[in-house]
């Protein structure tokens, strides 16, 4: 077979995890349900959802009311998931907006963006605001006896206007994100997106968080360090409380200086960090002591690993630089890091 050229190989990377994708699909499905039933209620002469499917025209109102709760739930998920990232605007977002994100010309220089570009942030904020008012006006329209007649009439108008606005915004969002940019279609489906696309279109995020790929072992180590710091703070608080109870005036800073493994009484109060410490120590020791035994254990490792098999084959065949790497980075389960 022919060797593929460098430019023919498209490197992909993960940008959205399972949670993000599920949240977005839940939202769009809830919106479709609510919008179709709402349009049915406006124009029952032209039933978009057939009468047979909804069990009659009387049920469309009930379905729309139930759909309100599903939509509200999806909206809450969307808010929780995307609020921290979408509220902060930077200077490069202004630049993005000035250049209209590169959508206005056929070939245009790509404006910078962070994790989410300015267009996505504005779409998110508009969706949330409109969605909240949609839900509220829908509730007023569903229980009109509890409100004044003027409020009910205004909310009828508002509810229909918001339907138009939300549907229009969603259509524009679908077009600009998924029809015009073919690279983004993986965001909502497989989660994988071409790496070069991320490099160009979310340049700031790529530089800050992704340019140096972190191996699995490094990620685990950093996670454990973070946990240890958090536990140290917790232990410090516990120590401070105990010292207070004993009557001593100890500050949390003094307590932090106390070594964790050396105080057995602390280990009672915080079980996880001590155990982790012991595990890590044991691992480091065991890995350092047996570097050469690795090649002899290939068969056990083959059973453990699924994708890492090819690596082990390669290790047997080629001389790789892995023996030169520090042994702490080798995870015993030898999996492929992406």
């Amino acid at each position: 077979m022919k060797k593929p050229r460098e430019h023919e190989i498209v490197e992909m990377m993960f940008v959205t995890g399972m949670g993000e994708r599920v949240v977005r699909w839940l939202y769009i499905l809830a919106l479709i349900f609510v919008a179709l039933t709402h349009i049915d209620l406006l124009f029952l002469q032209v039933l978009l959802v057939p009468e047979v499917a909804t069990g009659g025209e009387k049920l469309v109102l009930l379905l729309h009311y139930y759909g309100l709760f599903v939509y509200a739930l999806a909206l809450v998920f969307i808010i929780v998931k995307y609020l921290p990232a979408s509220v902060v605007f930077h200077s490069y977002d202004l630049e993005w907006l000035r250049k209209l994100g590169g959508y206005a010309r056929k070939y245009s220089p790509v404006p910078p963006a962070g994790r989410y570009n300015a267009g996505q942030k504005i779409n998110y904020l508009a969706t949330v605001v409109l969605g909240i008012f949609y839900v509220l006006s829908g509730l007023v329209a569903q229980f009109p006896e509890r409100f004044s007649a003027d409020l009910v009439r205004t909310s009828y108008s508002l509810h229909t206007f918001l339907l138009v606005a939300i549907c229009g915004l969603t259509l524009i969002h679908i077009y600009l994100q998924y029809i015009v940019t073919s690279a983004r279609r993986g965001e909502i489906w497989s989660g994988r997106v071409p790496k070069k696309f991320v490099q160009l279109h979310h340049s700031v995020w790529f530089q800050q968080a992704l340019e140096t790929p972190v191996s699995r072992e490094e990620e685990e180590r950093r996670r454990r360090e973070r946990l240890m710091v958090a536990d140290k703070e917790r232990i410090a608080k516990v120590m401070a409380k105990r010292k207070k109870l004993e009557g001593a005036q100890a500050t949390a800073e003094e307590a932090l200086e106390v070594e964790v493994p050396s105080t057995p009484e602390v280990a009672e109060g915080a079980e996880t960090p001590a155990e982790l410490e012991i595990e890590e120590v044991v691992e480091e020791v065991s890995v350092q002591e047996e570097p050469q035994a690795r090649e002899g254990e290939t068969e056990e490792l083959i059973e453990l690993a699924t994708t890492g098999e090819e690596e082990i084959q390669l290790e047997k065949d080629e001389e790789t630089s892995e023996s030169e790497k520090p042994h702490e980075e080798e995870h015993p389960e030898g999996e492929v890091s992406q």
């Binding site: 077979m1 490197e11 015009v180 090819e310």
Partner: protein, 336 residues
């Protein structure tokens, strides 16, 4: 053909309510309930218990479609009552008809002279008509979750010229009259003039002119120019929230998506998909032959360095039956 049009033209009919002749006997209430077989008001269900005054019941309801109001007033220095039968006014530009989403639920029946008929069998209970009506006529039945109002006995009237609505037929004093719009107009104006000559200067009609929602199907002769005295809005109109809703936002529901789809097509054909111009042409490399093992090793080397491959031809990976098919086992989630 103008002549043919005239033959099939709908002759609008008007029910005239002359409050100066009304004696408050409430025969119209009784006749309506008799004809339509609607129940009498329950003292427990509606709050018409402990009736004080001459009003019974105190309000329209899903089973009371006509009701005589007695308004206390001073007549010639002595206390008196103004009796006014209240029923649906069958407007020409009816708000309830405009707002109802249901097909053939609220409609104008031409056979009975354009009565605005609400068919409760098709009602879905959305209550739009209840809040759209400027006179607050339609009423909701909580048990059946449907709305009711006066139908002007469209089925009875539509059966023949000699039939009249039940209330009109029962009225003993001739306060209620029913007929073609022009005839009834003439009668009403003559009555107003005769009342004026006999000393009542504040007599007027209510609902004849087209400013009253296109002309009402029920015209009142009131003994006072102050319509608010009779609990009637002096200049009834469909509020802006309702007219905007039906006239503007509702058509936008199909105009805006169509416009956006058109914009899609225009944008895609004129500007096209988001593209980044490749300035450098890729160098022409000579084609190198590789064995499948070498290909596999190249791919795995790339993967090991931390990059993912999309264009991997998995046919050439040894032990591909052991590759994970979908999902990630715990602890093996890739770094994102």
């Amino acid at each position: 053909m103008p002549q043919e049009k005239k033959k099939t033209a709908v002759r609008r009919k008007v029910l005239l309510v002359d409050t100066s002749k009304c004696i408050g006997c409430r025969a119209c209430q009784m006749a309506c309930k008799e004809w339509h077989e609607t129940d009498s008001e329950n003292m427990i269900e509606t709050e018409t218990a402990l009736v004080d005054g001459y009003e019974d019941p105190k309000d329209l309801s899903y089973k009371t479609w006509i009701r005589v109001q007695s308004i206390e007033t001073v007549k010639d220095g002595r206390p008196g009552w103004l009796f006014k039968p209240a029923l649906c006014l069958h407007c020409t530009n009816a708000a309830c008809l405009n707002v109802c989403p249901q097909t053939r639920c609220i409609y104008k029946d031409p056979k009975s002279g354009n009565s605005v008929v609400l068919n409760d069998a098709r009602c879905i209970g959305c209550l739009y008509c209840v809040y759209a009506c400027p006179f607050s006529i339609p009423r909701y039945n909580r048990k059946t979750k449907t709305v009711f109002k006066c139908t002007r006995c469209y089925d009875k009237v539509g059966a023949g010229e000699e039939w009249l609505p039940a209330c009109v037929q029962a009225c003993p004093s001739g306060a209620l009259m029913f007929g073609d719009a022009e005839e009834v107009s003439a009668i009403a104006n003559r009555r107003v003039e005769s009342l004026k000559t006999s000393g009542k200067s504040e007599v007027c009609t209510y609902g004849e002119r087209a400013t009253y929602l296109g002309g009402l199907g029920v015209v009142y002769i009131l003994e006072s120019t102050d319509a608010a005295l009779y609990d009637l809005p002096p200049s009834p109109y469909i509020p802006a929230s309702i007219s905007m809703w039906q006239g503007f936002w509702k058509p936008l529901t199909y105009i805006v998506p169509a416009a956006i789809l058109l914009l899609w097509v225009l944008h895609y054909t004129v500007i096209g998909p988001l593209g980044v111009k490749v300035v450098e042409e890729p160098e022409e490399e000579e084609e190198i032959e590789m064995t499948p093992e070498e290909y596999e090793r190249m791919i795995l080397a790339k993967r090991r360095a931390g990059k993912a491959m999309q264009a991997v031809d998995k046919r050439f990976i040894r032990h591909r039956h052991k590759l994970p098919r979908k999902g990630f086992p715990p602890g093996k989630r890739p770094v994102s």
